[in-house]
Symmetry: C2
Subunit: 425 residues, 2 copies
């Protein structure tokens, strides 16, 4: 593929949290993986670049899935009949335990990687399992897709139920070091991330060890925070020294920094004190509304997180969420923000479409650097989508078509996808 090219079509993207740009039959310029801007008329300096004519298809930035469990993809959309802790013991841990078997892992991860590749996602931050070999297999397969991802080999040395538990903090840490050695220098697009499942499955010793390891090797961390009331009460018992769940992670050295930011999934019940901690460390909150609905967790206060200046992106959280579809996740994000406003707090305004589109693209993309926009200098992640099945009596702008798409994603076909300037679909 040419390193310099122009995509021509109906362009729409976020400029910032509140504003979008919409250009009919516009031009998006790519140079060596970097977007040189979006234009209604092609500047003379790019006139010689080859043009990828996308016709009347929509061209918008690729989406970042900030939180997804690859091994759980096998039971997506099944067994959505209990809350978090019971759901983990009944469905999740027994399934993840199967990834000891490499034949199983290879097949299961191939379905995950294939479907992630054909969807709206260009970047993702992913949980694997406690198994080193299977996690490397997942990373190998993801590398093949051309998507850019962080992948975590999971740590858990307690409360894993039958089978899915490491012997000790020491063996979990040693296993993690071995995994890091195995993947070092192996990939272009696939990076390791430390992944303590959550405090209930990680002893203090393991948590402290992982905090130290993150520091030693300048690694990022991902985990779960304040998803469900029973989970939060449990953490209060497990870490009595902490004044809240977020503070427990902080005490273990897991909250990261603006340079090496931590991702915390959910934050459904994060209050002002937790938000203070999230903000102080530059944590990214992965908002996962489908999961929060499916396993009856609640609705995260996204408007408040944004107002507090906290980084927020979206996660599908398969298999709490049941689909890798980021466009559907946008719709659920909008809808639950309206429910938060209607049922919980009238003064907390619903998210707008602009804000929701921002979260799915720039909000999560920022975790990867300058990603998620067609502003000049951003990495060139783009999706080309055909929405011609949705006919209209009047002329719609690309911005309006993007809004309509999130309500009717089944009628929207992805035709091309680019990640950092490389065409992957």
């Amino acid at each position: 593929m040419n390193a310099k090219f122009v995509c021509k079509g109906d362009v729409v993207f976020s400029i910032d949290q509140e504003h979008m740009q919409s250009i009919e039959q516009g031009f998006v310029v790519c140079e060596d993986g970097i977007c040189m801007g979006a234009y209604d008329e092609l500047p003379a300096e790019y006139a010689q670049y080859p043009v990828v004519d996308c016709g009347k298809n929509l061209i918008f930035p690729g989406m970042t899935d900030l939180h997804v469990h690859a091994p759980q993809y096998t039971f997506r959309g099944l067994g959505m009949d209990c809350e978090l802790l019971e759901w983990l013991q009944t469905y999740t841990f027994p399934e993840e335990n199967k990834y000891r078997d490499m034949d199983y892992a290879r097949e299961a991860y191939s379905y995950f990687a294939e479907d992630l590749k054909r969807g709206f996602t260009t970047r993702a931050v992913i949980f694997a399992t406690i198994h080193n070999e299977a996690t490397v297999e997942l990373m190998d397969q993801l590398e093949e897709t051309g998507l850019i991802t962080y992948v975590g080999r999971v740590n858990m040395d307690r409360n894993g139920g039958s089978g899915l538990q490491e012997e000790s903090a020491g063996s979990s840490l040693l296993g993690t070091r071995r995994w890091l050695e195995a993947v070092q220098g192996r990939y272009r697009n696939t990076m390791p991330i430390l992944t303590p499942r959550f405090i209930p499955t990680c002893s203090d010793e393991l948590m402290l060890g992982l905090g130290a390891l993150a520091k030693e090797k300048s690694l990022r961390i991902q985990s779960h925070l304040s998803e469900n009331p029973a989970e939060i009460a449990w953490v209060r018992e497990l870490v009595p020294a902490a004044d809240c769940y977020a503070n427990a992670y902080e005490l273990f050295g897991h909250m990261g920094s603006e340079e090496l930011p931590t991702i915390m999934a959910h934050c459904v019940y994060s209050d002002a004190r937790e938000m203070e901690i999230l903000k102080a460390h530059g944590v990214y909150v992965a908002h996962c509304p489908d999961s929060n609905l499916n396993i009856c967790s609640g609705i995260a206060p996204v408007r408040k997180l944004l107002d507090a200046g906290i980084h927020v992106g979206l996660g599908t959280d398969v298999a709490g969420g049941s689909s890798l579809n980021m466009v559907r996740t946008m719709l659920t994000t909008l809808q639950v923000s309206k429910m938060y406003h209607t049922l919980l707090e009238r003064d907390c305004a619903p998210l707008t479409f602009e804000e929701t589109f921002y979260l799915a693209t720039m909000g999560g993309g920022q975790y990867f650097g300058k990603v998620g926009s067609f502003r000049k200098g951003y990495e060139f992640d783009a999706v080309v989508a055909d929405d011609s099945l949705m006919k209209s009596t009047r002329h719609l702008t690309p911005r309006e078509r993007a809004e309509r798409m999130i309500y009717n994603d089944a009628d929207c076909m992805i035709r091309k996808k680019f990640v950092a300037g490389r065409q992957v679909l």
Copy 2:
């Protein structure tokens, strides 16, 4: 098409509100539009019938959309930024006013009819506008699809804003009579239904006149009930004699009977008193969860409606809802029932997948008679859907695949559709 045939494939359907039957490589028999049952082995008496081999596709009953506004399809997924009364004045009434223009109506309705035909819906109950000619055009187009529908020419003689309002109760009633004459005997599959928009747009005189007309001509009625707090407060002012919104309809003779049941959309705020009225008349509640989310109405107490023995089906309520997709509507139904349980009333259990599937098929189907199941004696409405894009590491039953489908409808392709035994797709 042969009047007697057998469909072979992976069959799943509701037997009743709590139970489903799932038959891998099963047989569903059709005789003259009626289902003669579903079998794991084909009974000898049907051995000579031609077999429609659907391979490994899922075969399930067609779905009934109990509440949808055809003229609003043109702005689906756009302008979802206000609540009911403002939304009606800002987006809905100006759009419906365009259907005075037959060229516009013809084009707009063609998109609606085409998309309804290619979706999961086999039966629908539809609002048109106040315009006779455009309503007949819609009915003509729907008749062509092979779907079975009720269509209502809308009545409104007050509060219609700029343009969308009839001159008087008398002219609205006269227009309705003329429309009824125009469509009498014209269709096989398309039936008229009286359609007062809702009490705020219909004077007492008009409401009483329509109640009398329903009785005179044995017609059914559809309308809206208790969707939004501001609407409910308004109705309290408009009909001071009524002790609640439902009672207002009752006083005007609009609540129907088991033989000629009324459909009331929404019932988000229906309390015990309203449920008593709904139950006494055999009203069908059209539960429209996507709409209730999109325009911040709230969450209807579906579990309580069912427990009270009230008929409930699902509606997409385009364009409060933004998609004709009944499978998506099932998912939202499940998800909002979980939110009702989590946020509003812990003792009110979420709906199960079985109950939700029932609502979309038998629950609404019952409005049309014996519709929405493959039990013997039901009308043969069937959808054949290909879910092979969703790969699995383990063997899934048709019941499990149906559950997975509602969470991943974009990966599910409709291959065939039958309505009362006639193949329409």
